[in-house]
């Protein structure tokens, strides 16, 4: 059980942030929306609260921008937007990811031949 959790933690590390970037690639989203979206993905299941520190780091390194804005229905929302450097980071990840995935598939035998 611990090993399983450890594995998914390890796999998540280094990839989850690009899932976040991709999520705001085409439209700005607010925190709860992003978190909720991850909550629906069983394979990514992390404690929702841990997404916020990640968002904070992505903002600090300049890959995301954020701004608070009033919501028509409730409390103010903090919207996140992809910056230019975030966009190129995402593009770079996509290239890397494909070749990385192919290598792993080949070595581990998960190529699905």
């Amino acid at each position: 059980m611990t090993d399983v959790a450890q594995l998914s933690t390890s796999l998540r590390r280094g990839t989850l942030e690009f899932c976040v970037l991709a999520m705001v690639e085409h439209e700005d989203r607010y925190g709860t929306e992003i978190v909720r979206r991850f909550g629906e993905e069983r394979n990514l299941a992390a404690s929702e609260g841990t997404i916020y520190p990640l968002l904070s780091r992505l903002r600090r390194v300049g890959w995301l921008d954020s701004k608070w804005s009033e919501s028509p229905t409730g409390p103010p929302r903090r919207y996140y937007a992809l910056t230019d450097s975030g966009r190129s980071a995402l593009e770079h990840f996509r290239t890397e990811w494909v070749s990385f995935r192919q290598t792993v598939d080949r070595l581990v035998g998960t190529g699905g031949a």
Binding site: Y30, S47, G49, T50, P53, R57, T73
Partner: protein, 219 residues
């Protein structure tokens, strides 16, 4: 509608989290608390949550304050302080700079993720070290306030024990050597009925400092 109770639960949750964030730069700490507070408010408003159990469910999905705090330290590239002697060593002993960790043989990323920027507003309370893993264990026993460090303080016993054992062994060997020396000298003395002079002169030197060492260390 038990809004008092649910508000209490939320406030307690945020308070518990805040307690664990004392090692973060103040702006990051406030940011995280504000984010979570807004999240909870959003969830309650948008899902029409009123009952206490539903609020508790929201908090549960967020993760325990320990888990959230650990993630906050990791993302900030900081070590988590040890409050009250509890071991809160980050569960994930890897530097908080996961980007391109698997980058393999490709060219270096043109804009590789800058290391987490230095905390802007707090004294440099921790360096850019990765969170401490077990390898970081056994610091010298420290007496100061909770600080960034490795393992619970009960750990360092092993090493001293080994050293004490070694010292005891050495002391025992020396004592044995002295006893044997005595035996030889006594034999020589008996055998030769004369020349008593040298014997005391030789053994007086080593016995003095060495003999007391054993009881002192053995405790």
């Amino acid at each position: 509608m038990s809004s008092d109770k649910t508000d209490d639960a939320v406030a307690e949750y945020l308070y518990e989290l805040q307690l664990r964030l004392s090692g973060l730069p103040v702006l990051q700490r406030r940011e995280l608390l504000a984010d979570l507070e807004a999240h909870i408010t959003n969830e309650r408003a948008e899902r029409g949550v009123v009952s206490e159990s539903e609020v508790l469910e929201i908090l549960e999905r967020l993760g325990s304050p320990e888990v959230v705090a650990a993630a906050a330290y990791e993302e900030a590239g900081l070590l988590q302080p040890l409050p009250g002697g509890r071991s809160l060593v980050s569960r994930r002993p890897v530097p908080a700079r996961p980007a391109f960790a698997f980058a393999g043989d490709g060219p270096p990323a043109p804009y590789s993720l800058p290391p987490v920027p230095p905390p802007p507003d707090e004294p440099a309370s921790a360096g850019p070290f990765p969170p401490a893993g077990p390898a970081f264990a056994a610091p010298p026993p420290f007496t100061g306030p909770p600080y960034f460090g490795g393992m619970p303080l009960s750990e360092p016993k092993h090493q001293p024990n080994n050293k004490v054992g070694a010292r005891i062994a050495i002391a025992v060997a020396l004592v044995a050597a002295v006893v044997i020396l005595f035996g030889c000298l006594a034999g020589a003395f008996l055998a030769s009925t004369s020349s008593v002079q040298e014997a005391p002169a030789v053994d007086a030197v080593p016995t003095e400092p060495l003999a007391p060492a054993a009881p002192e260390i053995g405790r």
